[in-house]
């Protein structure tokens, strides 16, 4: 394993590489078509180099452990807004998640519906392209339209366009108070309708998830509110009133630790952990979610399901080797958890329509003309 400790050393390594490289942060997200190549780790590019709480910005080396970034922010009462998922439980991996890995995978959790994805918090990147050039895009300020936005392009490119060396991110203040409205016993359709009502209200919902089979074995719909104490109390009460028409039994949870644990359970797709089979992550129009799940259940009656993002993100667990894209789908499906064999035979990422595939191939050829950075990870 190669573990360069400076950006220049990394650039040198790539410039002189002859064979494919398997780019790795902390190795906790073994996602994508398996890559054949020598492991190149960014773990040596570690450390928070700039943190301005008053400007809500942090800059860190790509190999900085996510936990270190989070601890640095927490010391000032701040956090990453996009709530990145910890994949270790679901994928059975170990290791230390890095901030570069989070960015490379555009890893975003439940708060995505309110504050956007990782890419929306990402202000700037430094990276080394496939020929060893050190490049930068964006910066460390919140509004920046100077030239093309390659920052977004790099987020979620899974190391196929370049190896991230440094990222700058917008951060968020931790809220003073949190609350979660729990609605019990709703059908999937009613749950999505209830979440839509909550998300379409003025009450600034920061999480909306539904587990058809919750921790106690019954359906539970969760609506999260965060903010000043007075706001949370007021909004929770208002939401409870508005959601009464869906008929579920309702509880408002105000214990911060319990709310945090509940949303970590959603974020990390805990209900799907250790269940065997393949795990898919499907992004759809929220109202399409229950229809898609009904179709899946017609074939796989005991598929485990979790809805996040108000129904727009559907996690499903199906028997090994199943391609959920055989169902009609407006959106995209990614095979997150599966063995090497399945991931080598089923497209992990949503196959793109021909014109988009041509553009993506063209971009890869420009950023990595020799095709040595995680070749094939996102498909041909």
């Amino acid at each position: 394993m190669m573990t360069p400790t400076t950006e220049a050393e990394l650039a040198e390594l790539i410039a002189h590489a002859r064979d494919p490289l398997w780019i790795r942060g902390g190795g906790t997200r073994d996602i994508g078509t398996p890559v054949q190549g020598a492991v190149l780790s960014t773990a040596g590019l570690s450390g928070v180099s700039l943190y301005e709480p008053g400007a809500l910005t942090v800059v860190a080396g790509a190999g900085t452990p996510l936990a270190d970034v989070e601890a640095t922010l927490a010391a000032e009462g701040q956090r990453l807004a996009f709530e990145p998922m910890d994949h270790r439980g679901l994928l059975g991996t170990t290791g230390v998640s890095t901030i570069g890995g989070v960015v490379a995978g555009n890893i975003s959790g439940p708060r995505r519906i309110q504050v956007g994805a990782c890419r929306d918090s990402l202000l700037g990147v430094r990276f080394v392209d496939g020929v060893g050039r050190v490049l930068k895009n964006g910066g460390r300020v919140m509004k920046n339209v100077t030239g093309y936005d390659l920052v977004k392009l790099m987020a979620g490119s899974w190391g196929t366009l370049g190896v991230l060396t440094e990222v700058s991110l917008k951060v968020q203040a931790m809220p003073e108070a949190v609350g979660c409205v729990l609605v019990n016993g709703l059908s999937d359709e009613d749950a999505v309708a209830a979440m839509s009502a909550a998300l379409g209200s003025p009450y600034d919902v920061s999480g909306a998830a539904h587990a058809p089979c919750g921790v106690d074995g019954h359906p539970v719909t969760m609506i999260r509110i965060e903010g000043l104490e007075a706001s949370v109390a007021y909004r929770a009460a208002k939401l409870k009133e508005e959601l009464a028409k869906f008929g579920g039994d309702m509880v408002v949870e105000r214990d911060a630790n319990k709310v945090a644990a509940g949303w970590a359970w959603v974020r990390d797709a805990a209900v799907l952990q250790g269940g065997g089979g393949d795990v898919w992550r499907i992004s759809v129009k929220p109202s399409d979610g229950p229809k898609l799940v009904a179709q899946l259940r017609a074939v796989f009656a005991d598929a485990t399901v979790l809805y996040d993002w108000g129904g727009g993100l559907v996690w499903v667990q199906v028997p090994e080797g199943t391609d959920v894209r055989l169902m009609p789908l407006q959106g995209h499906a990614t095979l997150i958890g599966a063995g090497d064999v399945t991931r080598s035979t089923v497209s992990v990422f949503q196959p793109e329509p021909a014109p988009l595939a041509t553009l993506s191939r063209g971009l890869r050829a420009k950023f990595d003309p020799r095709g040595i950075l995680n070749p094939g990870l996102m498909g041909a």
């Binding site: 460390r140 300020v141 093309y148």
Partner: protein, 479 residues
């Protein structure tokens, strides 16, 4: 302002190009008369003008595709145009180019409150997107100050922001999908009514690409429910440093106002003379707006005012009515008009780290003395996006050039302190030649490589964003 020499071959075959365009568009959608094309000779950067070869006003994605196929085949540069409100010259033509205006494409195609999106043709104005959903209590969040006139097409091209993006984000954070027509005339759908990309984030790179990668004809936009209410508070301070510190403290305290606007003394005086909003005569003024129910607003303002009081404000003005709120905003909203009343002005758009605010304002003051030109500062303080307004006299020979040199110095200063050349207006032609101050040649090369992929012949808006010297090889190779 240097522009590439028009391609004589294109100029020579104008009649044929126009005839071919008339084959695919209604007669009134092709403008080629030398007088009539003057309507398209500039955008809101009025200092630079050049009539185009022709202008076309297609009414559908199919017509846009037909136009682009012809221009591609005839090797004619195309300059896409939304409403022509760009302050950066983003839609300024060259003599050998066809202006492709999307103004006739302004339909709402789909409104979906359950899934919280609206799909529109991109010629629709920003404000009328919100207008289409306001009856149901919804709105489209990005609010550039030209929102009454500017088109969604231009918002996407420039990734426009606005005063309220501190809370709601800019265009790219509210854009879910586009229909884009490539220079070759191929119609491509990217994204849609669902979140995030299944592969590379092409939508992310299209937003803010200044019409250089394709013509966006339709857009899926995120809509939100309006807040229950909003209320501003006005604060005056006797130094820029203190006002800047107050902004930083509010943000650090974990309160996220929807807007924090800053004005300095020259700007305050000018707007007072113009609009008479009753602002205090002080060094720096902040307007902070929060949203929510009345009780929630009270709770947030209580915190904000407590922070402000620790900085010994010379004035703290709360609003107790809609009328008082409007008066607090009046001066800020008239700032550009007020400065325009005094003289011609150039509006800059650099962004700086908020912590650098006092230093940057001090340096701007020094530069103002050096150049002998007055400057007022209006500022989205929460996100560091500055709008220095440099006053000059367009009728005085050399004044525009002096003003541009002053502006360039301010933008270089923004880059030097860790910021950037443009926060929400875009590069266009205005800041094209300053790109080398922010990016190294290889950083620009990789951006241009992206254009190579989308538009290999470099026909779409080719003379923008990149310094002409940097893009020359590519533009020439394609010719």
């Amino acid at each position: 302002m240097d522009m590439p020499t028009p391609n004589p071959e294109v100029l020579a075959k104008k009649a044929r190009i126009v005839a071919r365009l008339k084959e695919v568009l209604p007669a009134d959608a092709v403008i080629s008369d030398e007088v009539e094309v003057r309507a398209y000779e500039c955008d809101a950067l009025t200092a630079y003008r050049c009539p185009p070869l022709a202008a076309v006003l297609p009414a559908s994605t199919e017509e846009v595709a037909a136009v682009l196929k012809i221009c591609h085949a005839e090797h004619v540069p195309v300059v896409p145009r939304g409403a022509g409100t760009s302050l950066a010259g983003g839609s300024m033509p060259t003599a050998d180019s066809v202006i492709l205006g999307v103004a006739r494409m302004s339909e709402v195609l789909e409104t979906d409150y359950e899934n919280r999106f609206i799909r529109v043709q991109t010629g629709r104005t920003n404000l009328s997107v919100s207008g289409a959903v306001e009856e149901e209590g919804f709105f489209y969040a990005p609010d550039p100050s030209s929102q009454l006139a500017c088109a969604i097409a231009g918002n996407i091209a420039m990734n426009s922001g606005g005063a309220h993006c501190l809370k709601y984000g800019v265009t790219t954070n509210n854009l879910m999908g586009v229909t884009i027509v490539t220079m070759e005339g191929e119609v491509v759908e990217i994204g849609g009514a669902y979140l995030d990309a299944g592969g590379l984030d092409l939508l992310g790179v299209i937003c803010g690409s200044e019409g250089q990668l394709g013509v966006v004809t339709e857009a899926t936009l995120r809509i939100l429910h309006m807040p229950e209410g909003a209320r501003p508070v006005l604060m005056g301070f006797d130094s820029n440093e203190v006002a800047g510190q107050c902004v930083s403290d509010i943000i650090k305290a974990g309160i996220l106002p929807v807007a924090i606007e800053f004005m300095d003394r020259p700007c305050i005086r000018a707007t007072e003379a113009f609009a008479g909003a009753g602002y205090p005569d002080c060094e720096a003024l902040l307007i902070v707006e929060v949203e929510g129910s009345d009780e929630e607003i009270d709770a947030q303002l209580e915190r904000i005012l407590a922070i402000a009081r620790t900085h010994n404000p010379v004035e703290l003005r709360e609003s107790t009515s809609a009328d008082e709120s409007a008066r607090i905003w009046l001066g800020r909203k008239s700032a550009f008009g007020a400065m325009g009343q005094i003289n011609d002005y150039m509006c800059l758009d650099g962004t700086i780290p908020v912590s650098q605010l006092p230093y940057v304002l001090r340096r701007i003051g020094e530069l103002s003395k050096d150049y002998g030109l007055d400057v007022g500062n209006v500022f989205h303080a929460g996100d560091g996006n500055m709008h220095p307004l440099i006053l000059f006299d367009a009728n005085k020979p050399g004044d525009l050039e002096k003003c541009e040199a002053f502006g360039a110095d301010i933008l270089r200063l923004c880059v030097e302190v860790g910021g950037c050349l443009t926060g929400e207006h875009g590069v266009g032609i205005e800041k094209r030649d300053l790109m080398v101050d922010q990016y190294l040649p290889e950083d620009l090369d990789i951006q241009m490589a992206v254009k190579d992929v989308f538009d290999p012949k470099w026909l779409l808006n080719p003379a923008k964003v990149f310094p002409l010297a940097a893009s020359e090889t590519r533009r020439m190779a394609a010719e």
